[in-house]
Amino acid sequence: MNELLQRKPGLRAWLLLAPSFLWLLIFFIIPLGIIVVYSFLERDLYGGVVWKWTLENYRRVFDPLYFKTFLYSLWIAFLTAFFSLLFGYPLAYYIATRPEKTRNALVLALMIPFWTNFLVRTYAWLTLLRTNTGLINVWLQEWGIIDHPLPLFGNTFAITLGLVYGWMPDMILPIYAALEQLDRSLLEAAEDLYASGWQVFRRVIWPLSLPGVIAGTMLVFIPSLGAFVTPAILGGGKRLMIGNVITNQFLGAHDWPFGSALSVLMMAVMLLATLIYFRTGGEEARRGGLG
């Protein structure tokens, strides 16, 4: 055995990698395969499948009822990525430009929310945002600032807020990493070459932080698209995202084939988004935003 390993170093690598491959195979590839296969089968009445091939599930996906939810999810994911970037970039920039000790403390502060379960944190938002009993509306009314409760709950605002809150660290960290590596002498060089503050940002800082922006955007966009906890809680049962529909097909309606078809479509969109974004983003980064 030992001799064999020495003669074939490649074999050793394979043996070392085998557990990971096995893990991926059992818990990722096979379930994915099952979902794809199920999406082409018919359901039976008791939550199982009938082994008869059909495209019916995919036709139903484009039923306006579901397709609208799909578009709505895309919209929410877009809003979440957009606002995470809008608020996250300045924060990442701020952290990256602090002295080293402060920087590490601030990055640590970003992680602290993760010590509490996401579900718990989302329920905390619920107690703040709820229309009649939510703390924000209660206080604002007590202080006489508003007469009627603000629509803070059960809508796009609440869901987006919850998702931005949840995923913004994933936007901040890669941008921070890119900015932190930025060579300060490049900024001085730009300043020496007559660039204004805005031009230094537009022409040097932004293009060089693009890899971080791209990574961050994908890290926020993809989980937001598939979100189901946040819309379930903060959507107040009124606004659903595709993640809720899928959950419901598996747990409530017992229609596994249709749930699978929705999942496959969602994954296809995620893959497509990733490909397009990295392609164009990579190009932009290489050109440095220059004409």
């Binding site: 060579d183 002498s185 490049l186 001085e188 060089a189 730009a190 300043e191 020496d192 070459l193 007559y194 660039a195 204004s196 031009q199 022409r203 040097v204 293009p207 060089l208 980064a285 290489r286 050109r287 440095g288 220059l290």
Partner: protein, 368 residues
Amino acid sequence: MPDASSAAVELRDVVKRFGDVVAVDHVSLRIAPGEFFALLGPSGSGKTTTLRMIGGFELPTEGEVLIEGEPQGYKPPYQRPVNTVFQNYALFPHMTVAQNIAFGLEMRGVPKEEIRRRVSEMLDLVRLSGYERRRPHQLSGGEQQRVALARALINRPKVLLLDEPLGALDLKLRKAMQLELKAIQEQVGITFIYVTHDQEEAITMANRIAVMNKGKVLQVGTPQEVYEQPQTFFVADFIGDTNFLPVQVMQVTAPVEVMTESGTRLTASWAEPTLRTGVKAVMAVRPERMHLYRPGSGPEGPEWNRVEGIIRQVIYKGLDIRYEVFVAGECSLHVRMPVGRSEGTFQRGEHVIVAWPRAAARVFRSES
């Protein structure tokens, strides 16, 4: 020295402190238009900080920086008629060579057509035509250096600041770039202020050199002046090779007289003004100013110093031969003699006379 109105850059009693650290300590300098001026000193001597105060990247704690007679006050870098070639070039990695070079003109809103013309002029000047579309990481160190130079020069600054621009290059390329940089400077006629820790580089390139140590300017002069007439032990030690003989001062007025530890009387052309009779000091003599003779021969008289020694090592260097001579009870002396002198060469172990003229000897307060 140029008069007040004609200084390209003037520093008046400039001090820069970072907390407790005094990076630049009461520096005054006047640099004439068109000069190739070197700031020379070991690492941490305050060269970069001095340069950055001229460029506007740091503001002096005390004192004043004037460019073409105009006090710069709090002006930011882009309002000063100077440009900088940074220590690590600081080329924009996401832009092509042409975009890098065009950057300054573009920021100032120069018309596209003119930018194109001037970029190609610059590429010619630094011999990088055809490299327009390359990116910095596709260039060698020397090429990156030339792009950095072109990117600064295209703005036609009154003064160009260069911080160890050749520091990252290997020796051979550095030598070639020294000549090229010097030629470019002469061609464009712009004042260069050039920071380096390499004394040979400063001597090769500069019209004048300011030698810095611990934030202070110790001496300003032509390469010949700082080499032949160093004013302090530090300068004598830092620039070129020097023999130092420990001595005691006998007489400080000309002709300066000193005595070695074994009692030999020696004479020097100059002694540091702060020296007093009776104190310990060092006599400095360049290796090439010392000569070897066989015992009983060689020049004598009040103008000459003579000590006896034994050859300990002989190194043939092609153009010259380097001898290490052991002087009993004193020290080792390094002597450099051109090949092909009438005495022929000396052998290891031979007894010799080391002789040097009074004019070649200077006496300094020994450091520490």
